[in-house]
């Protein structure tokens, strides 16, 4: 008999980080040493995380493949499963299926190039995986620039890491919050991500790649700006974040035209995205 593709790995929560008032990161370690040994993934892939008794939810793996022994996921508490996941403690067991989907070509297409990361809100989660992947192999890449924006200061995720990137000499970080989302102490920019990007002075060429993740509207508005700045459509990468249930190309809800996000994506270039119907 074929193996049961819906069986999850068991993983133990080894750390919990509250990113914002409603966003949490879980660090997970395999219960079985054998699973741990055999598991590998690439930046951009995702999985199905389950709180037993509540169900499964889809999140990207937000830790980089360069750091072995654990994976991390970051989620906003919205529904039944994410509420149940938040109620778990260090030492508790959850289910994980994956890794699924394609990935960012970090070790080939990105190599030797300038890399620009543009992220909005919790869209930093999939980008963070690539950022650390790139920073852990820093010498393989040229300039690294990160532009990150959120609705408000309170909505910025990975605050500790933002501080770390800010301090690094080999990374340029631009932070921004939407107008009205700033606090008196805020020392970053104020403005929407595409606008801040346009005014940043960042230039792209055939030797640069860009990674864009965030809410669908931000992606739609950012891609034209990137093109204007000189980035080539086949060097602009984004991830499509449609609702998924199986992650295996069966359950039928993530497709954009004939593009199954779980199988052919989630990573997609702007060039390819233009060929799909505008239904994402």
């Amino acid at each position: 008999m074929e193996e049961n593709i819906y069986l999850p790995y068991l993983m133990r929560i080894s750390d919990i980080i509250d990113e914002t008032y409603d966003t949490r990161t879980l660090r997970l370690e395999f219960v079985s040493d054998e699973d741990k040994k055999n598991f590998s993934f690439k930046a951009g892939q995702f999985g199905l995380y389950s709180a037993f008794s509540a169900g499964e939810s889809t999140f990207c793996i937000s830790s980089p493949p360069t750091r072995k022994d654990y994976i991390e996921c970051t989620f906003r508490v919205i529904g039944r499963v994410t509420k149940a996941l938040r109620n778990l403690n260090i030492g508790d067991t959850i289910g994980f299926r994956g890794p699924y989907g394609n990935f960012f070509p970090v070790s080939d297409e990105f190599k030797g190039k300038n890399v620009l990361f543009v992220a909005g809100g919790i869209g930093l989660a999939p980008v963070r995986c690539v950022i650390w992947n790139v920073l852990d192999l820093r010498d393989d890449f040229k300039d690294v620039t990160i532009l990150y924006g959120a609705r408000s200061v309170a909505d910025l995720v990975y605050k500790r890491e933002l501080t770390e990137w800010e301090k690094r000499k080999d990374v340029k970080l631009i932070r921004t919050v939407d107008p009205g989302g700033e606090t008196p102490e805020w020392d970053g920019k104020i403005g929407f991500v595409p606008t801040v990007l346009e005014e940043s002075g960042i230039k792209g060429n055939a030797n640069s790649v860009a990674v864009v993740c965030g809410p669908p509207i931000m992606i739609k508005l950012t891609i034209p700006v990137l093109k204007k700045l000189g980035f080539l459509p086949d060097k602009i990468y984004t991830t499509l974040e449609n609702k998924m249930k199986c992650g295996l190309g069966k359950c039928g809800r993530c497709n954009v035209g004939n593009f199954y996000v779980c199988k052919h994506g989630p990573v997609i270039t702007a060039e390819k995205l233009e060929t799909l119907p505008a239904e994402y």
Partner: protein
Amino acid sequence: MTKEIFITQKGIKDLLNDFLIKENTEVFGPVMKDGLSYISKLTPQTEITFDYFITVNSIKEALFPRYEPILRYNISKDNINITDIELDKKIIVFGGHPCDAASIPLMDKLFGWDYKDRFYLEREKNSIIITLACEEFDKNCFCTTLGYSPRGEIGSDILLERVNDETFRAKAVTEKGGKFIEENKSYFTPQANIDKKYPKITDKDIPIKFNKDNVKKWIEKNFEDPLWEKLTSNCVSCAACTFACPTCHCFDITDDAGMWKGIRTKNWDACTLPVFTLHASGYNPREFYWQRYRQRISHKYSYYVDLFSAISCTGCGRCSRVCGVGMNISEILKTISDAYTSQMESSVPASSK
């Protein structure tokens, strides 16, 4: 030529009944309920019917149950124990038509694509599909438009064709079907009176309703066309069409659990329902009725063809029969196919006309 073999209605009833009391066998057959016929899971108490033209539902649920456990688990204080699901039951499905059986190879493509969904594939392997060739059709039928036939063998293990009011000729379509007949020979008979009035219908009786290739060509170019909204403005997103459909395969995965134990299940879902694609953020890429119906039609007639080189529709017409607001899929597809033709005509330069 192999010798012909026949089975009477009584023979079928006896055969199914005897399998019902055997262990580890699920038997599905047509059952009359409130004047309508349904393919149902039989119990020794249920009586099958032969007095129907086409069942309301398809045979889909025999191989792809509307609610199906995919794993079980126990939760203890500091551990989770997962148990896999055994799939060793034999399945006999009697009473579908060729348009039901034709869905099986189509579903195979999806469930066997890349990752293998053993829940569908095992059930299929363990099943015997006994199909009845059609003796009637209605205005909703359009199997011939898609290249299928009311007497078609695709997907069946055994095809039964009526030869008189009481008896069917049994054709073993697959090796599995032949073996099944051989093993259950006592229910079959080598002779029967051939009544000239059968077969009542052939392929030619069911009109070709539209050009299926034109449907795809139009869909590919006209995602934003206002025709979509016009065609589907009656839709109330009830999802009856998807549940009745033999090839609609979308599902949800949910947990059904108490404090200490639970099961994870696959459940039928439908692209026509509004929450199907609703993001956690509240954003929905298919917010409106017509966007969802566009997905249903486009998936079947274009995306599925791109992925698996086959249209995910067998022309059974069930979605039209169950639609509460009278949307008729073959009429909708005809409008689309005609739209393509008129687009082509109008795009021909005047000089070449």
